[in-house]
Amino acid sequence: MSIDLTQDFFALFGLPRRFKLDETALEQAWHGLQAQVHPDRHAHLSDLEKRLSMQWATRVNEGFRTLRKPLARAQYLLELAGVDTALETNTAMSPAFLMEQMEWREAVEEARAAAEISELEDLHRRLLAHAREVRAQLAQQLDDDHDFEGAADTVRRLMFIDKLQQEIDEALIALEN
């Protein structure tokens, strides 16, 4: 039996296909796999082995990157379940969500315009706490209820939070300079 380069990342890392994940186990599995496949382990071997090693190590890194971040992991789980999370093709967001989005965005805009570093940092902290709640909901939907349509909706909320956090980071960097 040959190992398939295209097998799913959870199988590749020997982890259960769930949203809730043991981060230490993921990191150990990553190190364990790289200890086998990394190009440094094959540098003195044939060209073919070097090439295979690079393909495998690339795949293993891609898997680690995908599983490590909650948002990417949730998107990947939905992709495995055949559910599309793309915003472009699914814009039917609830009015409550749209309202919430606008409020956050206005707060960030105001703080940015007023060059309020502490206000931006505070928003960042509140947003982190908010993201934790949304992730807990996502875990419930994905792991317990298997409500993939609902989860896709939650993923889009998380995407929005992620984007807003990046904007706050960028605003903070701009203010520091």
Partner: protein, 622 residues
């Protein structure tokens, strides 16, 4: 002729022949070569006992060359033909080089990389660097008593693709097989971490002659994981010299100095800077070509004040690297100082203040990179048992992307991605019937293409005519373990496939490199054929040994006839080794490689399965 050795089943043909491999620190100011001897990394000295080779090359009018100290000493009398700090020009265009007006060279701007007109003709920075590398290779081969299997060559972590590729090209010109390009701070972390059995998060502050790197690493149970890296590929000790040089010009009211005077004053500035590490003040005494005397004294405080902006400039990358790693300064367990420039007391003070702890200076900042590179070369050459090995997980320093509409950059691989890394992005046509598409590959963090480093341009042709938006063109980026990029593009939707592979080479074509190789070999008085033969013999021995080792470990994965085919290929190759036909040896090496292709794939599967079986890393055998 050697007879075929077959080890007893289960018995390893140990002890392995020690493969000669070195680590090379190709520095802006000085270069070193180191190796692992009896388990200990040592820098190899020249005949007069010096380990540091000044990175200086002088092209003389009689066609001969001076490399190192002799060249350095000639720079005041022959500045135009004596190239120092050539690393600053690697993979760089004329507009990328700072303080170019203060340099005594006759530059020629050529696409991709600047060149220098010398008395021996126009030279690329790659050729100049190759002379330094060649000298180090010769030193190592004389000292170790045989041709090298390969070398790990260090580069600043913040070097972009063009600079890395230029370094690899230089090694090729110097007749060196590059086992790996290794980031300098990572090499230092290996040397420091292994010597001190360090665990936890460390920062490496590496201020070299012309480059600055800051890497954050997590060290845990034999794994060196780079969390983030940042830096400035045009900031180093040279800039501190330059500040002092400008201060001297200003104080002594010299404007503008002749080439020779400028060189003399620059050398004096460097001497004074080095003196100030140990002394409170340093004299600057120079007799100019006009007979006029410069007689000044610079104090440590004055020097610290005039260079404070440079010290501050290093703290920007420190902040960014910490932010990318998601860490605060007090979460760093130790700060390893690397590079001669970190001896300056005011730099150590600034770093101590920022991190709230005294930096680690218990290793030689000039040698630690070469020593770490030697340790890694020893691993890559296969000289250590797999279970004793450590694992290096390094990252790409700068994002890679493509130009999109309006001169904007679409990032494909973000900075600090763990190597090797690959990503693909899909694009489509914007006109009906469009059959070709142009791509522009760039590197950098800025949003506008104009602010990023242009790496390569290429076109995909032969797209079948379709309505706008119907074609699906998948562009794939692959960055290998050396941090080098290759790009390919393919039209997916029609079943018709067209693909191109881009290997950027920055102004140096393969033909040019081949030409340089020929002239370089002739120059060094080497016999091209003898060199080729020796290289193929070393390669053949490497391949035979690797194959025998594989048979010994995993022979059970093969059927009897498969094993016989491989053994026959080995016998055939061995039979050619005593002869002098390098082409026949090459062909036989290729035949052996073909015979083992399937075996290699099975071995890789097998090792993955072992990893998946739930073993801990340290219980595994390869």
């Amino acid at each position: 002729m050697a007879l075929l050795q077959i080890a007893e089943p289960g018995m390893s043909p140990e002890p392995h022949k020690h493969r000669l491999a070195v680590g090379i620190d190709l520095g802006t100011t000085n270069s070193l070569v180191a190796t692992v001897r009896n388990g200990i990394a040592v820098c190899l000295p020249d005949e007069s006992g010096r380990t540091m080779l000044p990175s200086a090359v002088r092209y003389r009018s009689d066609g001969s060359l001076e490399v190192g100290r002799a060249a350095l000493e000639a720079q005041a009398v022959d500045p135009r033909n004596t190239i120092v700090s050539v690393k600053r020009f690697m993979g760089r265009g004329l507009k990328d080089v700072a303080h170019i007006e203060a340099m005594p060279y006759d530059f020629e701007d050529s696409p991709g990389m600047v060149r220098l007109r010398t008395v021996q003709g126009v030279k690329s920075p790659v050729e100049v660097s190759a002379e330094i590398l060649r000298r180090l290779r010769e030193r190592a081969e004389a000292s170790l008593g045989g041709p090298l299997v390969g070398a790990v060559i260090t580069v600043p972590a913040y070097f972009d693709d063009a600079q890395r590729q230029a370094t690899k090209d230089a090694a090729r010109l110097a007749g060196i097989d590059v086992l790996r390009l290794l980031n300098e701070p990572t090499a230092a972390a290996v040397a420091y971490g292994l010597d001190n059995a360090a665990e936890g998060v460390y920062a490496v502050y590496d201020l070299g002659g012309g480059t600055f790197d800051l890497s954050i690493l997590k060290l845990s149970r034999g794994v060196f994981e780079v969390l983030s890296t940042n830096g400035d590929a045009a900031l180093g000790g040279d800039d501190f010299d330059h500040r002092l040089f400008c201060w001297i010009l200003d104080k002594a009211r010299i404007s503008p100095p002749s080439l020779e005077d400028a060189r003399r004053l620059q050398m004096k500035a460097r001497e004074a800077k080095e003196l100030l590490t140990a002394c409170e003040q340093a004299p600057v005494h120079v007799r100019l070509a006009s007979g006029e005397e410069v007689d000044l004294v610079v104090s440590r405080d004055e020097f610290a004040e005039m260079t404070q902006p440079l010290v501050q400039k290093t703290l920007g990358p420190v902040r960014k690297a910490l932010r990318d790693a998601g860490l605060a300064p007090d979460e760093v367990k130790g700060v390893v100082m690397v590079g001669g420039a970190t001896r300056m007391p005011h730099i150590q003070r600034a770093v101590a203040r920022y991190f709230g702890q005294e930096p680690l200076t218990n290793l030689d900042p000039d040698k630690v990179v070469a020593l770490g590179a030697a340790m890694q070369a020893n691993v890559l050459a296969g000289n250590r048992a797999a279970e004793d090995d450590w694992l290096l997980l390094d990252v790409i320093p700068l994002s890679l992307g493509l130009e999109t509409m309006g001169g904007l950059v679409e990032k494909v691989i973000p900075r600090n991605s763990t190597l090797p890394s690959a990503r693909a992005q899909e694009f489509t046509t914007f006109k009906d019937g469009q059959t070709a598409m142009a791509f522009h590959v760039v590197q950098g963090e800025r949003e506008l293409v104009a602010d990023c480093r242009s790496l390569a341009r290429f076109e995909l042709r032969g797209i079948p005519p379709m309505v706008a938006g119907a074609a699906r063109i998948r562009v794939s980026f692959q960055v290998d373990a050396d941090g080098l990029l290759s790009v390919s593009a393919r039209e997916m939707s029609s079943g018709v496939e067209a693909s191109v592979l881009v290997k950027p080479s920055y102004g140096l074509s393969d033909e040019e490199i081949a030409g340089m190789l020929r002239s370089g070999v002739e120059h060094a008085g080497e016999d091209m054929r003898a060199r080729a033969l020796r290289e193929q013999q070393v390669e053949a021995e490497r391949v035979i040994e690797a194959t025998e080792h594989a048979l010994d470990k995993d022979g059970g994965l093969l059927a009897v006839h498969e094993r016989d085919a491989i053994l026959t290929a080995i016998v055939n190759l061995r039979a050619l080794l005593a002869g002098d036909d390098h082409r026949a040896i090459k062909a036989s090496i290729d035949a052996l490689a073909r015979a083992t292709d399937d075996f290699a794939a099975r071995r890789m599967d097998n090792s993955i399965r072992t990893a998946l079986a739930g073993h801990k890393v340290d219980e595994l055998e390869l």
